[in-house]
Subunit: 329 residues, 3 copies
Amino acid sequence: MMKGKDLITAQEWSLEDLEKVLRVAGEMKADRFGNKYANVLSRKTFLMLFYNPSLRTRESFECAATELGGHAQFLEPKSMRLKSATAAGEEIRDGAAVMSRYGGGIGIRILEDAISEYGEGERVLRGYARYADVPVISMAHDKYHPCQALADVMGLREHMGSLQGKKMLIMWSSGHLVRSWCSVQSTLLLALRMGMNVTLAHPPRYDLDPEVMEQGKRNAEQAGSTFEIASDLNAAEGADVVYSRNWMSPYRYEHGKETEVVMALEHRDWICDERLMAQTNDAYFIHPMPMERGFEATDGVVDSKRSIIYDIAENRLHVQKAVMALTMR
Amino acid sequence: MMKGKDLITAQEWSLEDLEKVLRVAGEMKADRFGNKYANVLSRKTFLMLFYNPSLRTRESFECAATELGGHAQFLEPKSMRLKSATAAGEEIRDGAAVMSRYGGGIGIRILEDAISEYGEGERVLRGYARYADVPVISMAHDKYHPCQALADVMGLREHMGSLQGKKMLIMWSSGHLVRSWCSVQSTLLLALRMGMNVTLAHPPRYDLDPEVMEQGKRNAEQAGSTFEIASDLNAAEGADVVYSRNWMSPYRYEHGKETEVVMALEHRDWICDERLMAQTNDAYFIHPMPMERGFEATDGVVDSKRSIIYDIAENRLHVQKAVMALTMR
Amino acid sequence: MMKGKDLITAQEWSLEDLEKVLRVAGEMKADRFGNKYANVLSRKTFLMLFYNPSLRTRESFECAATELGGHAQFLEPKSMRLKSATAAGEEIRDGAAVMSRYGGGIGIRILEDAISEYGEGERVLRGYARYADVPVISMAHDKYHPCQALADVMGLREHMGSLQGKKMLIMWSSGHLVRSWCSVQSTLLLALRMGMNVTLAHPPRYDLDPEVMEQGKRNAEQAGSTFEIASDLNAAEGADVVYSRNWMSPYRYEHGKETEVVMALEHRDWICDERLMAQTNDAYFIHPMPMERGFEATDGVVDSKRSIIYDIAENRLHVQKAVMALTMR
């Protein structure tokens, strides 16, 4: 029973529940406008709180609610009178309690410039989850992005079949976007649980959350997979999947965004290009998008036949429909 | 017949019509997703003009339209080319005429910082109402907030039964939010019509609109209820309901918002706390939200068993569904 | 077969297809909430990218999708991470590819202050159209506004019957709004194809796009209609339709908006007033709205019986429903 369940990180869901999501998502994709799930959210509302702007996430969640017969409201806290460190206003417990009276579920996106330190977004989500009576679903926050991880896994399986024992390189790449760690951390943890052998490669000073790294090791032990951290791109050798992504350093909220950009541009050689792909086992290329071409990957890689980024972007819709249907119905 | 009727203030609606709204709202609450009202607004649009940001109002109206099978559009005049005192653009008469061709009804929210003097919001609403062929519904403006008053009455009745002869204290409270008078004025007028004995208490310099005060006296005479104005909180004695709220002074648009905050914080003793509640007749606590905890009421009061603020917030949805169904169907 | 077709300019659609749109729009207007088209877009999403704010366009497209049983998402690129001349981010090709996975169609509005030179908006639309697998529909861009032209033609026919041989004066008028050329250019081209004899009148320095003028001449030749350009308002004589509109000069992006306003206000005599209308053949008055009264036309003209501006504004809804139904079904 997933009814009423929050989805803040896939790590808190059992593999059985996650497989159920993937199965339902597959069913929904195969018969997108069919009758089976047409009225699951009929006249119900999914309340989306976007502390951060987003294209893909807003489109995909709002389409998801529409396709289930319901409606998603696009809400921006800046147009609300919510209490914050610097402004008087309503507290999360009251906002969450009232939202539970109106909506069938609450989605929250909070990361990057909307927070002032890593972990703040996670705390906001946990706050809503504590006081809301309806499911709270992460639409990406500083720490996790569970729907992206599910979409990644769904896409990889569509193209590769079982992921057991397959090798994935997750590589930091250069760029201007100073992204939060959520997508990478969520996919890393889930891939390990799915039995993939993961190598995380990044230049010095681009470590991810140490707690997540510890969890990754535990996931690998439990699944019988391997998890390695590298400081070069040699792990491309024999990889079945390459995942590239620019992400922030742990110092982002201390030294600011501009310094991060300068720092990231010192590593222009960290790019997923044809030369790197040539060393792999004819790997699939994935990326959670939006993509900064020419920095995170070359056009040649992005537009190649092994790039499955659009399929994965599409899967965001299907896994989110499945999560909403299973938790909010 | 309420079809086509504007709702700018409940004062302009007969008690019969208001009772009809409350009856239908109760029916809708009892069978929220039932069939009876499922298609009342099928494929119809409710156009919401938010001159001011809002959380609860936007959520509740948009959910209301969705639950009636229709759709509410969230429109911000800042993203329009409307004529104003300082900007060339379209006049209300043309905007209202065209909106009447597209929508089944128009909601307008305009108060606080969106106006430059008390009364301007009311004039804007009257302007739309004059030129629109479809119902114009106040979603809160400087003078009135009829849907909040209806939600208050609905909630009080759910908990207390008949309101006849019950005593309500409406008290100003301290805080940073410098709110418009609409909620307080609307509830005060409607409570008196419903036969409640109302005492309005506030420090010097926090008078409400004198016209509304006169109307309050007339309402009391007609209903056989009493209406008193006090400058201390002794009226808590024996109260059946306490309504606390921070509101602006009549000088707000002359001396500006910052001065108002300073002025309001000089009265930190004007707060609804456990000591005050102890003097009442085990009163219910109500507040139109969003609530500034620690200023308008203490956590102890807000989280007590006699606090029915979430039920009333929920009732916003139901009374708005009823109003929309009855005026737009 | 219009399924899948882009609508960037009506000029690229055959007269047969345009007549089909007008026929379906008429049917939809006659039975607005009837069953025939009730589920054409059931659970489908129309993704609307508003690079520019808009009242009428947003309302009418969002209502259109709702009335066809679907949903339109109001998306503002400012809340996205799209690549631009000055900002790193996602490229149109990737955005368009992903939007095609989520939506049944894409609408784009880009003109006026959202671009830095005439033609940039057209290039953005062509970019989306190239990479999207679903119909891309102009919701007004710097060069064309096909839905406005269709609404104009639909409204004129409702009031005048056949347009063949009817005389239309399209006149520049004074004002503060420095508008893009799209509405005027689209209506001019389509009216000529429909057999109207068009005179375009404007003061010196208010020329439109020379390419469009050339196309206008070709349209006139093919349709057997006439197309003249005048520098005074004598063409009001005998006109069956007067279309007034303030538009920018070709120098707008060089000398800036403020200079444009000053320049436009030097021609306060370019206004559609009763004196001008008295010279016509009892002409209908049209304007694509929003209208700046007192500059583009006098109240006397706007509020006269021959003013059909609200009917035409309403027709935006109907033609857009028809276009969406025919291209996205």
